[in-house]
Symmetry: D2
Subunit: 163 residues, 4 copies
């Protein structure tokens, strides 16, 4: 049986301190559940913060890099997947995650949320402005879930994994 | 000197008749300028309508398919690029277009607009709801252009190609 | 009806003068038949020589680049496809070609021949050492064709397109 | 610090019993060293045998699938990466492995060896006919290593990781 991979996607350089704190806490709680954290693997923003959080709680972290260059790899990634696909790798982040958490929002995150909803992957929104959630809700056939509570997010992920 | 490739991106199965008409007219005018039309290549929606429009005006059409399966190819595509990349091919549509026209909107289109804005590619919005344009404007460092006039869109593309 | 795309694959920097001459002549004859030439698009070796040959005969040339950087583009490419996929783009070269000509051999060419034979794409070998052809013949379920005559190669391609 | 990822590549459906036994033993020894096994992830041939071997020894296994379809996933893969890239994913297998073991040979394996040698990735050959090794040696600037002893292969990998 494969492990459960939970994707946390969000801005790289543009992440705010609050978004990074949330990503760190998400990583911690994902690890405590025994799930594997999956991110875009770089050493900045949400990818880095979530990976550090997961590692601090003894969890396993996968990072799917856009390059083949490990100098941009987060030091908190255990399993680096070097794609050299540029932004085309965003689709791999989404497909390889059983559940996607959008933590904060940037243009890369928008592409990932859109690709996830298109294939019916469960997505939960954290620290994403209400009008951005509403934007995606209008394009999606499913109802969308948003919360700023890590505890609520983890409970929701747990439910999705049991479906 | 390579030819000018103009990308027209928009919904496949979910395109409205008005959006398809606009795509057809766009294809015609792109062809009349001597530009090459680039789409996602499938035989539905905006991809198909724009390709038929361009071909009706004697233009050249490129279609970048997500599959290696030509049964889903628009009969109005001259140059099929068979990627077998799934939705990861959306990034190729964007990178290979010198200018991107978003004509209508669906989840795939959202991913393409986001990837285009992320790399600073010029994007113009047609038949896209104002709140969707506003959503992207908040995430983009550039000001965004929207119009429902094909003539205005073509003039704007022409300007971008001269920059 | 899409146009016929004929792929010519071979070494970039390591191409010998004889291999480049053959690629140039192939490009010319492909263009004269009204077929579209497809290459890896860079401004070196077989890709560049074949594209220049095709353009000299008034043909249309497609180049599928590994990067999104047009500074490495052959000036003889009409339709640049910018993938930013690195060497993963080799599979697109193969899938998008109706027939593949291996003209000379390098490690990139080996990957393309292998991927082509794996999906049953017709491959013809030119200026490839006999032991390399024999290597592929042992791995392939089909019999393989090799020739150093451009005229013979063109006749063989023509046959494949009629199957 | 990321973990060491060791790639074992080889035929899927066409693998012989001897090749599969070797793959199983390789997986076991890779796991005993504390390295992570990386394969193409499918439930056949070398990918499956190596993953089962690694799992039997308590190791961690990564499988980079060509599809987004987990019904073809080896049950011995812990971390499935779902690419939906078709054979373009072969380049990811190679780039994500610090060392590549070619165990047996098929057309997919040939493409992986070629892509690995092209970027200077260390490759060791097991259960590969001498003339196939010679074929690659003629195209490679490095000298190539072949062995049918798992113990020798593991010692060689260990050396590569210390360079």
């Amino acid at each position: 049986m494969p492990k459960h991979l939970i994707g946390v996607m969000g801005p790289g350089n543009g992440a705010s301190p609050l978004v990074e704190e949330t990503a760190y806490a998400l990583g911690q709680h994902i690890a405590r559940r025994g799930w594997v954290l999956l991110t875009g693997g770089r050493n900045v923003g949400v990818m880095d913060a979530a990976s550090r959080g997961a590692q601090s709680a003894g969890g396993l972290t996968v990072g799917i890099l856009p390059t083949a260059d490990t100098t941009v790899l987060s030091p908190a990634v255990d399993i680096p997947i070097l794609t050299d696909l540029g932004n085309a790798r965003n689709n791999l982040n989404v497909l390889s995650s059983q559940v996607v958490v959008a933590c904060g929002i940037g243009l890369g995150t928008v592409s990932e949320i859109a690709l996830a909803l298109k294939v019916g992957k469960p997505v939960i929104f954290m620290r994403v402005p209400a009008e951005a959630v509403a934007f995606f809700a209008r394009l999606s056939v499913h109802s969308l879930t948003a919360t700023d509570s890590v505890k609520t997010a983890i409970a929701w992920i747990d439910e999705q994994l049991r479906l």
